[in-house]
Amino acid sequence: MGVFVPFAAIAASALFILSLMWMSHPSTARRGVRAGEIGMVIAIIGALVQHEVVNYDLIIIAMIAGAAAGIPMALLMPMTAIPQRTAISHAFGALAVGLIGAAEYYKHAHPEYAGGFIMWVLMFEMLLGFLTCTASVVAFAKLQELMGSRPVSFPGQRIFNGAVALATVVIGATLAIDPTQTWLFPAFVALALLFGILLVIPIGGADMPTVIALLNSYAGLAASAMGFALGNKLLIVAGALDGASGFILALVMCKAMNRSFANVMFGGFGKVIAGVAGGKDDRVVRSASAEEAAMQLENASSVVIIPGYGMAVAQAQHKVSELYQALTKKGVDVKFAIHPVAGRMPGHMNVLLAEANVPYEQLVDLDDINPELPQADVAVIIGANDTVNPSARDDPNSAIAGMPIIEADRAKSVFVIKRSMNAGFAGIDNPIYYNANTQMLFGDAKDMVGSIAKELSGGGSGLH
């Protein structure tokens, strides 16, 4: 048993690593989940058989209760709620880290630990844990629309936030230097929790995905810090893997939006820009009907479908899949162009389309589809806006200048499915709507795509 525990840690670490390794491709990804699960079981057994652990009742109850809460959550969660779920699970994870840190703190609130390594690490861990917890709750609330998604600002905000941050750090350091001042501890926790809230409320709802990824990376760092404090290498490894993952995803998103971390965190994006599109209403917009679109699609030999956030909002993925099937049956070559930040979280479109049974080989990356677009007969934009906005490429003064886009405007003709001429997440006008080769199909994505698919499969019942 004395040997089992270290080996359990090694085996679990190796399995977690394999898990991420196998995640690289859909064909091995489920094996990756299995590896992760086995690793987790080994880790838990390793923890349970430690000779320090003598009391099992509470642990068992908590685990049963946790499973009872987690299983239905996992089974019932609609795929469109994945971003929110991720946010709330970060809150849970970070809370666990914070609480463990608190318990450890009380265990070590003795003079002999004053200023010791463990105290500093514990304070760091709790700071990250507690702030990530409340920050994730706010992110969840914004995504679930429990609170407005607009950035919240108030006078003196930066100074106030700075003061809270400073107070948190100062109290934390005081506690690390003199851990016996337990009366200060609740203040530390409260400040850290408050700071998490302050950090996220000034950020617009649509920036939440990036925030969530960053919080993911904080949570990972906190877990690693806990590993340092507890002398547990498994936690260090798992935390580092988690931290790396969140960091890279945040990086991918920032790069795909051509923005910096700082701009996301402090930019107040989506705050001011509204109604920019006002003036030049002399430009002509051509609109078309579902029948006309169906006819043109039918006669195309290659079609590129470009889904965006609107497809997720409308939950139109199943209708889109029907459209894909109908066109494929007629011999049309259909591909999907997936922008890295289409929708509201990385990989959002992929999951939705996979849910609707679109084979993953048809989902093509930005870099791979752009060279093909000039040869495409029709590009169908479904609820995407910023990710196909040519001004990112053409207008150096645009708010999204430099953001890589899917160059739908290069296709021979373009259909755009959306409800109105309203702007997308970035709040800016999109010149593609006024191009001579663009036709607008106004309507809800689900209804409109459904009608087109119905037309294509014979105009009849639409059931097939």
Binding site: G32, G36, I59, G70, A244, G347
Partner: protein, 98 residues
């Protein structure tokens, strides 16, 4: 279990794991970025081992037991739902021939 002095070994492990994490995550296809998030989420729930120790160890104070209990609960929710949702998502990714 806890250590009061800085142990360079831990830094070693952390650095190696961080490098490895970057290499591994960079190779994940963008196709799978959503399931990746929930998988790493589930893996990070391994903090449950710390929570178990705190809750169950000899001489745990009532406070420690309470904090540990909540921590075990939270971590369990995460790991159970994390792995299950990841698998649910991945099940949906099908190659062409179904």
């Amino acid at each position: 279990m806890t250590v009061n002095a800085f142990n360079a070994d831990y830094l070693f492990v952390f650095i190696l794991a961080a490098f490895l994490g970057f290499q591994l995550i960079k190779k994940v296809s963008p196709l799978l970025h959503s399931p990746l998030m929930s998988l790493t989420n589930a893996i990070a729930a391994v903090v449950i081992v710390g929570a178990i120790t705190i809750t169950g160890e000899e001489g745990a104070t009532p406070l420690a037991k309470t904090l540990g209990f909540i921590a075990v609960f939270c971590a369990t929710v995460n790991l159970v739902s994390g792995f299950m949702i990841t698998d649910r998502m991945l099940k949906m990714f099908k190659p062409r021939g179904k």
